[in-house]
């Protein structure tokens, strides 16, 4: 897999003086789902707007499949589809006309069969003759996706695709995204729902205050930064920890009924065997054991708070 989008040293300062991006480098692999995770105002939308040609970069360069997005904008943009964050739709056109318009705009000849398939896939077929202003918010969101798919892009940018979308629809959106990935479409989605990144992405990029803090394989990221914890649930609560267990820095909760041990899940020696031996030696009776791994959310919160 080679990189299909390459962002090099891109900075963006808006006319207001606000610097939205600080020399961003990013390589997006062909066929992957990359989640750009970041709090509001982190620069996610600015970054993808630059790649798609909606915002001019102040400096730096972007290539899409080797085509420079400024000098070879035709070739580059032909490959790109974008679903914006806001529900920016026309109002008076019909769904069919609007989707067909997008296809034409990207230089493709009319293909009613394809548009029919897309509308059916996105459950919009029975609304094909409805005017857009009569659609619900969820339908408008799907319409925006249909418009972006109408010209069969190889790379699809989804800017917060599930913001303000209910749970059922969100699941549906995830299914659409994974189906597209199966068809070989590279997908970049921005989100501040960690759950979304955790569920769908192959790689996760964390962006905060206009800087990309890291881009990592999701599993690797979770392993690399993932702290594990072991909860020891006791039969009888303990008032105070025995001297022999002091150096494990256990956390005592539930009135001394639960002792929590934190350790690095990837370490050669986790210390668990010794701990359990010492617990037994101290005369504490175990009722149950539980381990848990930090979620992407905890990792993310840690990273962003470190950065700021």
């Amino acid at each position: 897999m080679g990189s299909i989008v390459s962002v090099q040293g891109v900075t963006k300062t808006y006319a207001s003086g606000h610097q939205a991006l600080h020399s961003v480098d990013l390589a997006i692999q062909e066929g992957e789902i990359l989640a750009l995770l970041g709090p509001n105002g982190a620069g996610k939308t600015t970054l993808i707007s630059i790649i798609c040609g909606i915002v001019n970069a102040s400096s730096g360069s972007v290539t899409v499949a080797g085509y420079d997005i400024v000098k070879q904008f035709r070739e580059a943009r032909r490959l790109i589809g974008i679903v914006p964050q806001e529900l920016t739709t026309n109002s008076f056109e019909t769904v069919w006309d609007d989707v067909s318009f997008s296809r034409g705009l990207h230089g493709c000849k009319p293909d009613p069969a394809l548009i029919e398939r897309i509308l059916k896939d996105l459950s919009l077929w029975d609304k094909k003759d409805a005017t857009i202003m009569t659609l619900s918010g969820g339908m408008k969101r799907r319409l925006l996706i249909a418009k972006a798919l109408s010209y069969q892009p190889r790379i699809l940018f989804l800017d917060e695709p599930t913001a303000g979308v209910d749970v059922t629809l969100r699941k549906g959106m995830w299914e659409t995204v994974s189906r597209l990935r199966d068809e070989g479409v590279t997908i970049i989605l921005t989100t501040h729902y960690i759950e979304e990144a955790e569920e769908m992405a192959d790689r996760v990029g964390v962006i905060s205050q206009g800087r990309i803090l890291l881009v990592e394989d999701k599993q690797v990221l979770m392993q690399k930064l993932g702290e594990k914890s072991l909860s020891i649930i006791l039969h009888e609560p303990v008032e105070a920890l025995p001297e022999s267990l002091a150096h494990y820095q256990l956390e005592r909760t539930d009135n001394g009924r639960i002792l929590t041990y934190r350790y690095d899940g990837n370490a050669e020696r986790t210390g668990i065997t010794r701990l359990l031996g010492d617990v037994a030696a101290a005369g504490l009776r175990l009722k149950d054991l539980q381990t848990s791994q930090s979620s992407l959310e905890e990792i993310f919160v840690n990273l962003v708070s470190e950065a700021s």
């Binding site: 808006y14 006319a15 798609c52 040609g53 909606i54 915002v55 001019n56 904008f73 035709r74 070739e75 580059a76 943009r77 032909r78 790109i80 974008i82 914006p84 806001e86 920016t88 739709t89 026309n90 109002s91 008076f92 056109e93 006309d97 067909s100 318009f101 997008s102 296809r103 034409g104 705009l105 990207h106 230089g107 493709c108 000849k109 418009k147």
Partner: protein
């Protein structure tokens, strides 16, 4: 050239016209008919003739220009302003289309629409007053060039405007007075000499004069000046649009 895109934008815009046919086509026809009733029949009956032409016939080219100019400007301005206002402009900006293809789509549609309106008004006028066109080819040339150049101006206004008020400002406060004072309803020679000179600074005078020449073979200024004026205006608009696109002004932050 991305012809599919030009076609898509053009028909998208023409569809808008079709949907708003009452406002787009019928209202200019009605207002022109009213001008004929008031100026042609009621007042015109008391004016003998202007330079040997019946007053009702004399005002036809000016009336067509009045509608043509305001319609071209308003249509093109609205066409590009609306996507900016709703945010759907993102699609145009991220599509594989060059700026001039966008212009061709929007301006082409706006110009076609006002050309249609111009021809409808001409046909309506013909019902009120018999018309003979001395130079039909020149008439069409003036018609088409005016539609295109003022649609270009409208496109610029649509990009410049960041609210609805600005969108209306230029057509209402600049175009309409310029057309009224540009000899739509009178010959420049009817003015006192000092005002005749002042009027020559109004570019619309050249348009109306040239257009009237194509109908009746007589003009306030030489027809060569009219052709030159419209050509200069056309080029000026194109240069302005080129500058807008190369700087990203009001389109790309």
């Amino acid at each position: 050239m991305n012809w599919q895109a030009i076609k898509a934008i053009y028909f998208f815009e023409m569809n808008r016209t079709r949907r708003t046919i009452l406002q787009s086509i019928i209202s200019p026809v009605i207002s022109t008919s009213l001008y004929f009733v008031v100026f042609g029949a009621a007042i015109g009956a008391r004016i003998e003739s202007v330079e040997g032409i019946s007053y009702a016939a004399f005002i036809v080219p000016g009336l067509i220009m009045l509608s043509l100019l305001t319609q071209s400007v308003t249509n093109a301005a609205f066409g590009i302003y609306f996507p900016k206002f709703t945010g759907t402009i993102y699609e145009i900006l991220s599509a594989p289309v060059s700026p001039w293809e966008v212009v061709l789509g929007y301006v082409g549609a706006a110009a076609s629409k006002s050309l249609i309106i111009g021809l409808i008004i001409l046909a309506t006028a013909n019902l009120f007053v018999p018309l003979e066109i001395a130079h039909p080819l020149w008439m069409m040339t003036f018609l088409v060039l005016t539609c295109i150049s003022f649609a270009l101006l409208g496109f610029i206004i649509g990009i410049w405007a960041d609210n609805f008020e600005k969108l209306q400002l230029v057509p209402l406060l600049i175009i309409t007075p310029m057309v009224f004072l540009g000899g739509s309803f009178y010959s420049i020679s009817m003015l006192p000499p000092a005002w005749q000179t002042v009027t020559l600074f109004n570019p619309v005078v050249y348009l109306i004069s040239g257009f009237r020449w194509s109908f009746f073979g007589l003009a306030d200024v030489h027809v060569g000046w009219s052709v030159l004026a419209i050509a200069v205006f056309l080029v000026a608009c194109m240069v302005a649009i080129h500058k807008i696109f190369s700087s990203g002004y009001q389109l790309k932050p």
